[in-house]
Symmetry: C2
Subunit: 435 residues, 2 copies
């Protein structure tokens, strides 16, 4: 009928005009979406931020594991699919490797035959290997690799000052034990290959050293084989899944530790095993959200359910921040600088600031990306200032990459006082001692 009013030709013209306008509108919409994805949307928030704010309402506790869990699994490429291991069934026990029962004597024997590779560098200081790592793939978030780089530089600095060696892992040794469980096969392999190492110190890639002067109290740990930051009460009494933290811990190289790894591993294999184990953990542990089994919850579960077997050799350290949750530390750095000094390691000057839940490498963490990145820069600079002061420099502010001179140059550099004692620290002196 419309046709009869305005004529066939005009109708076609109108229809074409409408189609053009639809096409134009779709096209503009597409352009806007692409632009927004590429450059963000400034003060209106980014898609990531919207999602995080929504999820914040569901999550009551910040935690590393959930952020990892919420990372959307990238679709496997064709070549990856060939390597995906068949999912282990619930009644098919997992093993980290052939059972070893005499590691203490194998190792003691080896150490005896190799006095040139002592497991103690001084009477009290053990040989320590700090182990950390990240994925062999570039981060999904482009800036994530930059923070991994800053993080390893930070660890290199602390370890150089404290005479600790570093192993940076980028290989997935066992495809079944992917994600947070990947550290177990790695730790076992390193302990067995390096009998000269007395303590293996695992540290997450999102944890940074913020006290360059603090030396661990090794003597305190002489009776123990596993040291983690945590509280006895929160673990053994409350069964709280964050009663301890496996983002930074010490593990002695001995039979007990191999046995612990074997007892710890079973909840790890990807698939129904990890999923079902997760349900048990949520059911048993206080405040634990629903998600697949993570190594930290599994450790709490292990200590709680087999306390008589393990607890006497486990030290839950809370006197200093072997792991320090970033949320309660980062806003206080200026106050710390004002009132305290490096070497304390605790709430006054934390040894480690651990950015649990930030996940800068992935697309989604538990916190707004900007908050995380800004605070990671501040923590990095807070630690870096302690290194730079050795050379007479400091960052212009905790937010700034730029540095400025704080000490006049001199033609007698060796007379300059080593303020923090980091240039030539006692814990780095070569000791000539009888083996």
């Amino acid at each position: 009928m419309l046709e009869r009013c305005i004529g066939e030709r005009r109708l076609r013209q109108i229809q074409r005009g409408v189609q053009n306008m639809k096409l134009t509108f779709l096209c503009l919409l597409l352009t806007l979406l692409v632009l927004r994805g590429t450059i963000g949307a400034g003060k209106y928030g980014t898609p990531q931020q919207d999602f995080i704010e929504l999820r914040q309402r569901f999550i009551s506790h910040p935690h590393r594991a959930l952020a990892e869990q919420n990372q959307p699994e990238p679709k496997p490429k064709k070549s990856d699919k060939d390597d995906e291991p068949p999912l282990r069934s619930l009644n098919d026990p997992y093993s980290l490797g052939p059972k070893i029962s005499d590691w203490d004597s194998q190792r003691a024997d080896w150490i005896h035959r190799h006095p040139e590779r002592p497991n103690f560098l001084t009477k009290t200081k053990p040989r320590v290997l700090l182990v950390t790592g990240s994925s062999p793939k570039p981060c999904e978030n482009p800036v994530g690799d930059h923070y991994l780089l800053k993080s390893i530089k930070n660890k290199i600095d602390y370890c150089r000052v404290h005479n600790i060696e570093i192993f940076y892992n980028m290989a997935l040794l066992d495809a079944e034990m992917a994600g947070f469980w990947a550290k177990l096969p790695l730790i076992r392999a390193l302990l067995l290959a390096h009998p000269e190492v007395e303590f293996l110190w695992w540290m997450d890639s999102d944890a940074m050293f913020t006290d360059m002067a603090f030396e661990l109290p090794w003597e305190r740990y002489a009776p123990y084989n596993l040291v983690m930051h945590g509280w006895d009460e929160m673990v053994y009494k409350d069964k709280n899944w964050i009663g301890l933290n496996t983002g930074s811990f010490l593990l002695r190289n001995c039979q007990w530790s191999l046995d612990l790894l074997d007892a710890w591993a079973p909840m790890g294999p990807k698939g129904p095993v990890r999923t079902e184990a997760g349900k048990i953990l949520t059911k048993t542990l206080k405040d634990r959200p629903v998600f697949e089994a993570d190594d930290q919850s599994a450790m709490v579960y292990l200590l709680v359910t087999q306390k008589e077997k393990w607890a006497n050799k486990v030290y839950l350290e809370s006197a200093y921040y072997l792991h320090g949750y970033w949320g309660i530390l980062v806003d206080r750095y200026e106050e710390m600088i004002e009132n305290y000094h490096p070497g304390l390691g605790d709430h006054r000057w934390p040894l480690v600031t651990h950015f649990v839940g930030c996940k800068p490498c992935g697309k989604f963490g538990d916190y707004p990306v900007e908050r995380c990145l800004k605070q990671m820069d501040r923590a990095f600079n807070f630690g870096d200032n302690q290194i730079l002061q050795m050379y007479g420099f400091t960052h212009k502010s905790l937010a700034s990459r730029r540095v400025r001179r704080v000490r006049n140059e001199t033609s007698n550099p060796l007379e300059v006082k080593d303020e923090l004692g980091l240039l030539h620290p006692d814990f780095k002196a070569v000791q000539h001692h009888a083996s």
Copy 2:
């Protein structure tokens, strides 16, 4: 007239239709451009590749310096502008710091007073500090930071095996000496702060270790203070700007070295000094393109014009690849694996593969990005395989991130033969010797 034929209303409709189509077309074009910029254009090439191929026709030599030069200077932000140093005029001499003339005796004195910090770890092995670094800013190319991360892991591995300490720099100590010149103030500061260090080994961030078993022939260098890869003839006779390479060199901690740094530095300060110096270098050195003064050309110039002063303490090493230009090495890795073994350090199994000109951190290098990244992955894996074999693993191929087991596990790990001798190498044994 058209109006009279088809009617005013129809004309307007046609006009609107045409306008819509123009808008649609513009919109589609914009969308295509944005998409192309975001995801690339596959086999049709990317804007970067087009530019690089154009430039390839102008550039006859691959080189690190020119790639750095061609990096478009990012526009300074408002806050940066305050810190831009005033450009030094040609008659205003630059200084790295207060003149020191008695460093040998200051240092000898200090070493004598600190026997617990020997500058030699054994009779022949000096205490070495490997120095490298990168910008404190995230890379312009998002994947660049991932390669910096792989590169530092690679260095951590070599240095752990060879008992060498690492300093990773991310601070610009002197804004005038930005870019490739930044290493000079850094090296001076480190030498003066660490008298216990006998040799400082500078290594570029784009250089990777590909022979994990090769120990430097320290005894060969006893009479020298500066060791660089290069050829006497190409430097002293041909004055060729690539007759030596400053991407990987050794500098002894002594008065001579401080004097060398002072003599090397003057061409470095940003602005007219660096520009004019560049012209002199292009005029004097063989094959050097036109660009501002770089540290490598300046070193050739220094050695050539002041040969009698410096040459007797400079060793130009060509017996192994202290620096190995990647272009002639990377396609031969499979052949090397077939015919040779680690520990040779030379063309058969290069110590260092140096990706000069690739510039993965910036937007433009001298070579197609894909070629560079692919080869950097291969070089990384080639080196990493030598580390992984200690633990019974290897990469599935030189192109693959994934690893596979190559040695059965055992309950007697200490009886396994240490094939490459990297687990417990001689050059890592603790020596109990009289100081």
